[in-house]
């Protein structure tokens, strides 16, 4: 075989297998909220996909083998952490056996957030507790900043060649968030002191942000379906405290929330717990917008 052919073959193979610094970073997000932020921050340098659609229970997204293939090929996986995805993401990561995820490729979006409801005692008698605290940080209108910063830091450490662009995009996104937060605070002032219940304990951060009173849940304990005796006590409490607003999340039936609302003369409002949880919630900002709008309409319509 001629030397020139060998040299050409070597050059071609080197070219084919040379690291392509302009290749896009493959990002897999556990939930569409992080996919949206990753697209905002990553811009043209990322290919992003979400494992959850947004209408599921974030604790119990059905595992499909195709998800394992996506995780196997990812450069980066973004998760909430705080055990929110413990029932479905770790088995995918284990099966995919992607070495990149052990070397800093697994980004925990909630890092650094002040976590609410960290249990002092862990016991199964309290239902399906989250040992690290309430994980539904993505429902905190004030958490967008920290989620976005963590995603930016994670993308930058995995693709330092694009760090400058990521940080520029982050700055623009943070400006957008600043403006939106002023809007939300202004519009949400009406919610201050409004009492409500929900099906599952999703809304602690939301209640804190808008200074609402989160009275209880239709579930007697996390992950335990509503029982007749618990609902009777809850309805009594709602009547005593004048609670009229019942929040229903997309993965739950509206039957029990409707019954409870009828008994207290209140209103059911359906809110998204992830992006795409409502038709008009295509981005994280839109999700907060849509949830706020729905809640304000419900309050105006007799939910207070």
């Amino acid at each position: 075989m001629s030397k020139s052919f060998l040299l050409a073959a070597l050059l071609v193979s080197t070219t084919c297998f040379a690291e392509d610094n302009e290749a896009k970073l493959k990002v897999i997000a556990s939930i569409p909220d992080f996919a949206d932020m990753a697209r905002e921050i990553g811009g043209v340098h990322v290919e992003v996909e979400s494992l959850a659609h947004g209408t599921e229970d974030s604790h119990g997204v059905p595992v499909r083998p195709s998800m394992a293939a996506k995780v196997a090929q990812a450069d980066v996986v973004i998760e909430m952490g705080l055990n929110m995805e413990h029932a479905w993401l770790p088995p995918l990561i284990d099966t995919a056996n992607n070495a990149k995820l052990r070397g800093g490729g697994l980004i925990k979006a909630s890092e650094g957030e002040t976590i609410l409801e960290i249990p002092e005692n862990l016991s199964r008698t309290e239902g399906e507790q989250h040992s690290e605290g309430n994980p539904h940080v993505n429902l905190d209108p004030g958490a967008g900043r920290i989620l976005a910063k963590n995603i930016c830091a994670g993308l930058s450490s995995n693709a330092p060649q694009f760090k400058k662009d990521f940080e520029e995009n982050l700055a623009k996104y943070l400006q957008k968030l600043d403006a939106k937060e002023k809007e939300w605070k202004a519009a949400g002032a009406k919610l201050k002191g409004v009492k409500f219940v929900s099906f599952h304990n999703h809304w602690a951060y939301w209640a804190r942000y808008f200074e609402m009173e989160y009275v209880g849940t239709l579930e007697p304990k996390p992950g335990i379906p509503p029982s007749g005796s618990h609902l009777a006590k809850l309805i009594q409490l709602m009547k005593a405290q004048g609670v009229k607003l019942v929040v229903r999340e997309p993965q739950f039936s509206d039957k029990i929330p409707n019954e409870v609302a009828e008994k207290v003369g209140g209103k059911v409002v359906k809110l998204a717990i992830m992006v795409n949880g409502l038709p008009e919630a295509k981005t994280w900002i839109e999700m907060i917008d849509a949830n706020l709008k729905a809640m304000l309409e419900a309050v105006d319509d007799g939910g207070k």
């Binding site: 595992v63 088995p91 056996n97 992950g223 379906p225």
Partner: protein, 486 residues
């Protein structure tokens, strides 16, 4: 505004007081009046001096107040943008606040840092109990009595841990009562295996573990979708697919899900006899050649149609190549899942099917007589092939409730038993043992459930039996959701 004491007013007041007082003393001698006037003048000088001192102090305080007001205005003006925009914190203040938040978060994190003891293994357990009523013949009741029977199907302790950056490990200890030994439950090692975590896209697993042959043979009894394991799996695989050996598996790094697994074992099947060489010597005094090992291969893929429909297709094979002991078990598995998102109910439907072909060599001895009437033993070897499988549907109509039917058929294959020429099983070789079941599951929570199963069995000798099972299972401690349990 500068405040001043009105010195004139004060002086005037004093003079008036003195005048009024002095008027009361009118008529005193001129010398006394002069002395009093001198005293008044001295007092006035002193008062003036005091007033001047107080004024000076007041001036100083007013100056300090003015300076502080100036400082406050300066701070307020720091965030004021050009134009008419609302005031807000400056970039510097935001950066400093951000830094303080991060330091506080770090402090919290440090305070809640795991202690050395937190690297202990995770421990979980499962307690699986059942009541059975079986109205069939005693010989067909399996390893438990027919009639009424309470049983601990399994009391399992599971330990799992990351060993280091390269390996992880787990161990399962199980105790099941032995009806032939007064229901004594002796703990035994069900699984103990080591897996690699450091190889890209490939996992090596070695030890004793359930080989992923087909779909359900690798699932522990308490994790099955129903109470009893399908008879086709019990008979062909030998219960759970336990094996001791080494396996490699990989989800190929392509966009489509495709998983390949392969391995070599002493044997596969918890109840399957440990193969001995043909000469019949026991395992401890024999030599197992490469051809006498059990080889395993599996391929699995899946297809999604939209968001709601998932299909999984797999093919598995187990082979013992040795001509004398030959075992060849192949499996096709098909699973369909309907799980609509966008709906407000946790509805789900699973349809699972496995079809198996089992070929086993069996050896038996016949006794003939020679010309003198002396008995002569003659060895025979026979290859027996059987087909079997099951199919079930499970519908979840609620977070708590699910139910479904199951059909299970197989042609009995008896491994390595002596089969006499007039054995009735030869005559029934082409018939199937059949089971038709209905099952209902109620989940209290993720960690506890009850299940009811009713089965009608038809055996190859045309006898029938009915079985009613009630299962009560709980899990405690640490728990993992394995990919195989999807």
């Amino acid at each position: 505004m500068r405040r001043t004491f009105s010195r004139r007013a004060v002086a005037g007041t004093i003079l008036i007081t003195l005048f009024v007082g002095g008027a009361g003393h009118a008529g005193e001698a001129p010398k006394d009046v002069q002395a009093q006037v001198n005293a008044l003048q001295d007092a006035l000088v002193k008062v003036n001096t005091l007033l001047e001192s107080q004024q000076k102090k007041l001036d100083e305080q007013q100056q300090r107040i003015a300076e502080q007001e100036k400082t406050i205005r300066a701070y307020k003006n720091l965030g004021k943008p050009l134009g008419d925009g609302p005031a807000g914190p400056s970039a510097e203040i935001l950066a400093r606040l951000d830094n303080v938040e991060r330091q506080a978060a770090q402090a919290v994190k440090t305070a809640s840092r795991p202690k050395a003891s937190d690297s202990s293994p995770y421990i979980g357990a499962a307690v699986d109990t059942a009541f059975r009523y079986f109205d069939g013949d005693n010989g067909k009741a399996g390893d438990r009595p027919s009639g009424n029977d309470f049983n601990i199907r399994g009391a399992e302790l599971i330990f799992y841990a990351d060993v280091d950056p390269f390996f992880k490990t787990y161990m399962v200890l199980n105790a099941t009562p032995d009806a032939s030994a007064n229901d004594e439950a002796v703990p035994s090692l069900e699984e103990a295996a080591i897996s690699t975590t450091c190889l890209p896209h490939v996992t090596l697993k070695g030890g004793r573990f359930f080989v992923p042959f087909g779909r359900l043979s690798m699932i522990h009894d308490h994790d099955l979708p129903f109470v009893s394991r399908p008879s086709s799996i019990d008979n062909y695989v030998g219960g759970e697919s336990q094996g001791q050996g080494l396996m490699a598996s990989s989800v190929l790094p392509i966009s489509h899900f495709f998983q390949v697994s392969g391995g070599v074992f002493n044997k596969i099947g918890a109840e399957f006899p440990l193969l001995n060489p043909v000469d019949g010597t026991d395992a401890t005094n024999s030599r197992r050649s490469s051809a006498e090992m059990t080889y395993f291969l599996k391929m699995l893929t899946s297809f999604d149609i939209g968001d709601a429909h998932t299909f999984e297709l797999g093919a598995s094979a187990v082979e013992v190549p040795d001509h004398e002991i030959r075992r060849n078990l192949t499996n096709l598995e098909f699973t369909y899942k309907w799980h609509p998102s966008g709906q407000s109910l946790p509805q789900k439907l699973v349809w699972g099917t496995e079809i198996m072909r089992n070929e086993q060599r069996s050896q038996f001895t016949t006794t003939a007589t020679d010309a003198l009437g002396n008995p002569i033993d003659k060895q025979h070897r026979e290859s027996i092939t059987g087909y079997g499988g099951y199919s079930y549907v499970e519908y979840f109509f609620d977070r708590r409730w699910s139910f479904g039917p199951r059909v299970d058929l197989f042609q009995p294959v008896t491994p390595r038993e002596t089969v006499l020429p007039d054995d009735p099983r030869k005559a029934t070789r082409n018939t199937y043992e059949q089971s038709y079941s209905l099952f209902l599951t109620y989940k209290f929570s993720e960690f506890g459930r009850m299940r009811l199963e009713a089965t009608h069995k038809i055996y190859t000798d045309r006898t029938a039996a009915n079985e009613l099972l009630f299962q009560w299972t709980v899990f405690w401690g640490a728990h993992t959701h394995g990919f195989d349990m999807r």
